[in-house]
């Protein structure tokens, strides 16, 4: 029995690792290409570079004339950090109301929230741009981060609603009996129990804001305001001279902070405080 179990485990690990290799092949190819001299990127097809060079990393990091990737990283991280705070606070507040409180027009408003997600962004861009321009918010991060404080990303509201709805109602009812009002229930009962949802919101806000190319393109114009995502696109232009090696090198590096962040936060999902919290 024990032996069979062991074989089963080895088999499982082998399968998982094989899956990892297949999944990561394109990324490995990118890593290997970023280490090859330019002329070998598309001629030398092997994953193991024949010649290794760090040129692309050095040249790539140097960025565009005066600003380097240090600036772009700082900009991206600032943007993302503020966005996370905004989303976590505003979305969980709204979600609590939708999931647990009773009020008129609740269904209608919930529907409205879903509806705001169903309209393709591209037709909203111009009116939004005009609005932010009138507010004199051009070339600042305000058009990107301020809406986050107003729960405009329905995805996270909906996500958190679903999490709260799966929590046993007895919990807040018991708390009510103990004399807790809605605010105390929200902070003392609900918030600790939806840590996985909050962490998920954090992770996704990080990734999506980091990668959100379109709004960064429209609102951040000055060179000193460029983010990593914007800078990466500048490496590649079909009409001019592109720098594929640097593009691969910097793209690879750009995954690193997101990956580290994910490694760090995913534990909180996994260790899920919820498991022990409910009695």
């Amino acid at each position: 029995m024990a032996l069979a179990n062991r074989y089963q485990k080895i088999l499982l690990h082998t399968l998982i690792i094989a899956g990892v290799v297949i999944m990561l092949y394109p990324i490995l190819w990118m890593l290997s290409s970023s280490l090859k001299p330019s002329e070998l990127i598309f001629t030398d097809n092997s994953l193991w570079p024949k010649k290794v060079t760090m040129d692309h990393y050095i040249k790539g990091w140097a960025g565009i004339s005066k600003t380097t990737f240090t600036t772009y990283y700082l900009n991206s991280i600032t943007l993302v950090a503020i966005a996370i705070i905004g989303n976590v606070v505003s979305c969980s507040l709204a979600a609590y109301a939708f999931a647990r409180l009773e009020f008129k027009a609740k269904k209608l408003m919930f529907g409205l929230m879903l509806m705001t997600m169903m309209i393709p962004l591209h037709v909203l861009v111009i009116p939004q741009y005009i609005m932010f321009n009138k507010l004199d918010w051009m070339n600042t991060i305000l058009p990107i981060v301020v809406p986050k404080f107003f729960a405009t990303e329905g995805f996270f509201v909906f996500l958190t609603v679903q999490f709260i709805r799966s929590l046993p109602r007895e919990l807040d009812q018991a708390a009510t009996v103990d004399g807790c009002g809605p605010f105390r229930i929200y902070t003392k009962v609900i918030l600790p129990l939806i840590v996985p949802a909050i962490v998920t919101t954090t992770i996704f806000t990080f990734i999506w804001t980091w990668n959100d190319f379109f709004s960064q393109l429209l609102y951040l114009t000055g060179q000193e305001k460029l983010t990593v995502t914007l800078a990466l696109r500048i490496f590649l232009d079909a009409m001019g001279e592109s720098a594929l090696g640097s593009l691969f090198a910097m793209s690879f590096l750009s995954i690193v902070p997101v990956f580290l962040m994910f490694m760090f936060f995913q534990r909180f999902i996994v260790e899920g405080i919820a498991t022990s919290g409910i009695k």
């Binding site: 004339s65 321009n133 004199d136 000055g222 079909a238 001279e241 640097s246």
Partner: protein
């Protein structure tokens, strides 16, 4: 009913708040922004400090050049600060459209023969004639072709940074290995086909004489021009179905002769970056591209490249469209004089010419060409010679109406449909015409 009332009251209230906010913000910001932005401004107290915005597109090399060029400009005119907005061509267009619709277009905007008519129609460029008359802009050293190419309805809107002509960029190393004589300017469509066939004998199965260019509208446009027509005539198509049938048929003949890649391989190419292009990898021997691309392709391959004119119709008109890259000034600009100063600097001063080194092809001003001529690289020398030889038989690029982007894409789609055997040439041409008309009339 009641609810609706409330919603509209709220909306109106909101609009009022927005308007009030923007009104309040506009003033303090306008006065506080300028000194903050102009770092070195205090050194030149005599003139008022001014910040202008300039937008351009390109790859990294161009961004580096533009940035050092603008640094030089700021050094020379310390009271002017140039804010820079740049990206790839797609990003540039995306952003500019939104900015223009929002009334926030940059003061100086890069443009080209492909965008000119559209930008003028959408009020992104202003009439520059008054600035020329007042002496703020100097185009007296410009070649006539560059001045004419910057005009729409007789008024100057674009100041040329350089001009180029679409030609056939070819791999001379492959030609030599195959023992095929190099093509000469003004060769014909028959020459082109025969050369391709000769090359193909050497190239075998895994490489091709040329790319399948039946889907490139620029090629089709040149083909039409040789017939005295053009793709668009105002808001309508400027050619007949038979012209398109002839064009698709030529490329069908090329495919059947096996001198261009099969449909799937060709479709995979798209607008791949130069390093990945079939030309750079020695997979094809010829492609048609703008002459200023020669130096860029040359950097991605060890083989020697050269450029020759696009094939001609021996019985037709001997004419090519001149592609100009340049810049215009926005009518919303609060500082048109300073914007003109910047343009003047770029096109008429040797400091700028040395930095920019004919990035957009030979400059409009012969004087500026002479500044850099001595230290041009080999590919640039070939490029300049080609462009100089062809310049006399060029004319300005024809105008393109709104909707042209989708019609241009239709050339690609319908050529692919033929290449994949989904449609006959007749069907493809019929579908093209009906869909193009529908798009243009929308």
């Amino acid at each position: 009913m009641k609810k609706q009332k409330w919603v509209s009251v709220l909306l109106i209230g909101l609009l009022l708040i927005l308007a009030a906010c923007s009104g309040k913000n506009a003033q303090p910001n306008a006065s506080s922004e300028t000194p903050a932005a102009g770092g070195s401004s205090s050194e030149a107290p005599s003139k008022e400090d001014v910040t202008i915005r300039m937008a351009w597109w390109g790859g990294q090399a161009r961004h580096d050049m533009m940035n050092s060029l603008l640094d030089k400009f700021e050094e020379k005119y310390p009271h002017i600060t140039v804010e820079r907005e740049f990206g790839t061509e797609n990003q540039f267009v995306e952003k500019l459209n939104t900015q223009a619709a929002g009334g926030n277009a940059p003061d100086v905007v890069q443009t080209s023969s492909f965008f000119l008519h559209d930008f003028v129609a959408r009020n992104i460029h202003m009439d520059l004639d008054p600035l020329v008359a007042s002496g703020d802009l100097n185009v007296s050293d410009f070649s006539e072709a560059d001045v004419n190419g910057g005009k729409v309805d007789g008024k100057l809107y674009m100041i040329s940074f350089g001009h180029n002509i679409t030609g056939v960029i070819h791999n001379t190393t492959l030609f030599e290995k195959a023992g095929v004589p190099l093509p000469k300017n003004n060769w014909t469509w028959d020459d082109y086909f025969n050369t391709a066939q000769q090359l193909q004998k050497y190239l075998g199965k895994d490489a091709w004489a040329s790319e399948d260019e039946g889907g490139t509208y620029r090629g089709f446009d040149m083909f039409l021009m040789q017939r005295g027509k053009s793709m668009f005539n105002g808001k309508a198509l400027g050619f007949e179905k038979q012209d398109l049938v002839d064009w698709f048929s030529f490329w069908d003949k090329m495919r059947k002769a096996g001198v261009v890649p099969p449909a799937a391989i060709q479709a995979e190419q798209g607008d791949k970056p130069q390093e990945q292009s079939m030309l750079a990898r020695g997979k094809v021997a010829m492609i048609s591209k703008s002459s200023n691309q020669l130096k860029i392709f040359q950097k991605s391959t060890e083989d020697k490249l050269s450029i020759v004119s696009y094939p001609l119709n021996p019985s037709g008109e001997k004419v090519f469209p001149l592609i100009i890259a340049g810049a215009g000034i926005s009518p919303d600009s609060k500082h048109p004089k300073e914007a003109a100063l910047l343009l003047n600097f770029i096109v008429n001063e040797s400091d700028a010419a040395t930095i920019f080194r004919g990035e957009h092809g030979p400059q409009a001003s012969k004087k500026m060409q002479d500044v850099i001529l001595s230290n041009l690289g080999e590919p640039e020398k070939i490029e300049y010679k080609f462009v100089d030889d062809m310049l006399p038989i060029t004319k300005p690029y024809p105008a393109m109406p709104a909707g042209s982007t989708s019609v241009q894409k239709l050339v690609l789609t319908e050529n692919q449909a033929v290449a994949f055997g989904q449609k006959t040439i007749e069907q493809a041409a019929d579908d093209f015409i009906s869909q193009a008309q529908q798009i243009l009339n929308r």
